[in-house]
């Protein structure tokens, strides 16, 4: 009997969310197949790769990152270089200097940086806060206001501050809202429910369902991504059909495999190579499990993951 291949068809699709404007805008989502299952149907848009930069500049970066940005001194120049990186689809500005337990930069200063970056790049922009829920509620709302018309994605609205960020980004200033939960599938869904109940259109929401570096409880991330995609497509769960973005660099460059200098752990070899390896492995696994976009830092990681996507799409 000849083998009769039966494609797995779903009467459901991930919603499409557009970021940016003009020629360089990108579309996340749209798929009605499991990740890279090109044999079941068309891969509508394909996953996207973002390049992370920070308001804290380049001081703490590994030599390969510093070398790439050589000659860039202002945030505008750094952003421009990031947008020119091979494989980059969008730029992600992390305003980590806003953290009250860190540099505690004032909101106005950070908003000015966001404007400088937005004006310097023509790729779509994602703006990430400082992870402090009170500060982010104010900061991301102000960034949403200052960048009107740029159609940026703000990361992220959490359970504690989704009202402030959702109302500013999604309702008042027509930006895109990132809904963040920490590897908790029920909360991921709930956050989408309450954010839409606030009046934010489902097509304006992108989920960040949490991440971890490979080896650091990453199995939970994969099972969360898997179960979300399965519920979205096979159960047509409208409250889980938002595309998923996964910040990878901010996780992987902070674990000991990527931090320990070669002198501390000579048997591990080059620190930079380890960091790149962690970043690439985590990103590849996240994409294979259902992320529609990943955020990376090292030029080699961005080029590699982008090449992987092109080969599979």
């Amino acid at each position: 009997m000849p083998f009769n291949r039966k494609p797995q068809k779903f009467n459901a699709a991930i919603k499409t969310v557009e970021l940016g404007s003009g020629d360089k805008k990108v579309t996340l989502g749209g798929e009605s197949i499991f990740p890279f299952y090109a044999f079941d149907g068309e891969i509508t848009n394909g996953p996207k790769v973002g390049v992370e930069i920070s308001d804290m500049g380049l001081e703490n970066e590994v030599p390969g990152v510093k070398a790439y940005y050589e000659g860039a001194s202002t945030m505008g120049e750094i952003a421009k270089k990031a947008s020119e990186m091979e494989g980059a689809d969008f730029v992600c500005l992390r305003l980590e200097g806003g953290d009250p337990n860190g540099a505690d930069k004032p909101v106005e200063e950070l908003v000015a940086i966001a404007k400088e970056v937005a004006d310097a790049v023509d790729l779509p922009l994602v703006v990430e806060g400082c992870k402090n829920v009170e500060k982010d509620a104010e900061l991301l709302a102000k960034v949403a206001e200052a960048l009107q018309g740029k159609n940026v994605l703000l990361l992220s609205a959490k359970e504690e501050n989704y009202k402030a960020i959702g109302a500013a980004a999604g309702l008042a200033y027509d930006q895109k809202v990132g809904a963040e939960s920490a590897v908790d599938i029920n909360l991921a869904k709930q956050l989408n429910v309450v954010t839409t109940q606030l009046g934010v259109k489902p097509e304006s929401i992108v989920m960040n369902v949490g991440s971890a570096a490979v080896g650091y409880g990453y199995e939970y991330v994969v099972s969360t991504l898997d179960r979300i995609k399965a519920a979205a497509l096979s159960q047509d769960d409208k409250m889980l059909q938002m595309p998923i973005i996964t910040p990878v660099a901010s996780e992987t460059w902070n674990v000991k495999e990527a931090m320990a200098e070669e002198e501390e752990a000579p048997e591990w070899g080059s620190r930079e190579e380890r960091g790149i390896s962690m970043e690439i492995q985590t990103a590849a696994a996240s994409l294979a499990a259902g992320s529609d976009a990943v955020i990376l830092k090292h030029p080699q990681s961005v080029a590699t993951i982008s090449k992987m996507i092109q080969a599979l799409v």
């Binding site: 869904k189 709930q190 309450v194 109940q197 179960r227 519920a231 096979s234 159960q235 769960d237 409250m239």
Partner: protein, 261 residues
């Protein structure tokens, strides 16, 4: 597993308001009942036009177009003994939100409704009875087998036959209730879909009791593998029970607001 499918039963010509609306082609009462049921969470709406011997074809076309145009191509169950009326309804039916359901066939005089569903790529409710209520589950399963084979012979996908064990009224047939539930388990073990007029169990009971009985039965029936029911979706207790059972069965993913979805 897919979410439990609720078929709203409130557009029924047994209601004087609806019968009158059908006769005079008055959209208002029909649209009102449709909206109530959809707002309450119904997936399909049943459209019972009665025997409709005279103008059934015209009436069913009118009702299908009316409901689908007003409610984003809501999927419908076409419910009448008039076969030509069902075909007429399907001829104007938009299937973007789901196949039409032929309500219903049985293993006796109405077995040709299976052929009708097959010819029109529709779902059919297959009532496991022939002449009168099945005496026991041997008979029920024999009817089930007969109708399943008929559907498959005509090229249907087994998933498009939704087997109805025939829910029985507690007041009078209390001793048969577990049989019905066992039949559902047998359908489920065969991988078949099932449905039925679940609220029949509480016929003749005080109004305040019915939602309690219906909710208890739907929970037990879902445990047995029931995949759909023809119900009054405006019964809040019943709908809350169905949504909760869907969570326990893994048919929907839990979120704190699950009752609002």
């Amino acid at each position: 597993m897919a979410k439990f499918v609720t078929i709203g039963e409130r557009i029924h010509c047994i209601s004087p308001v609806i019968r009158e609306a059908f006769a005079t082609r008055n959209p208002e009462p029909i649209l009102k009942r449709a909206k109530e049921q959809l707002d309450a969470g119904a997936t399909y709406l049943d459209v019972n036009i009665g025997p409709a011997e005279n103008d059934g074809e015209d009436l069913m076309k009118w009702a299908v177009k009316l409901l689908q145009e007003n409610f984003d191509n809501v999927p419908l169950a076409l419910d009448t003994a008039n076969r030509k009326a069902i075909e007429a309804g399907i001829s104007v039916y938009n299937r973007s939100k789901g196949k039409p359901i032929v309500n219903s066939a049985d293993a006796g005089g109405r077995i040709e409704n299976i052929d009708l569903a097959a010819a029109n790529d529709a779902i059919v409710i297959a009532l496991c009875s022939a002449e009168g209520i099945a005496a026991d589950n041997d008979e029920r399963m024999m009817h089930c087998q007969t109708m399943l084979e008929r559907g498959l012979e005509h090229g249907m996908d087994a998933a498009d036959l939704w087997f109805d064990p025939l829910f029985l009224v507690v007041k009078g047939m209390q001793d048969k209730q577990m049989q019905v539930l066992e039949a559902i388990k047998m359908f489920s073990d065969m991988g078949l879909n099932s449905t039925g007029g679940l609220s029949n169990n509480s016929n003749g009971m005080p109004k305040a009791i019915r939602p309690i009985m219906d909710s208890a039965l739907v929970a037990m029936a879902m445990m047995q593998g029931l995949t759909s029911a023809i119900v009054n979706p405006c019964d809040l207790r019943l709908m809350e029970t169905i949504k909760s059972c869907d969570v326990f069965k893994g048919n929907t993913l839990y979120a704190d607001s699950y009752l609002e979805l």
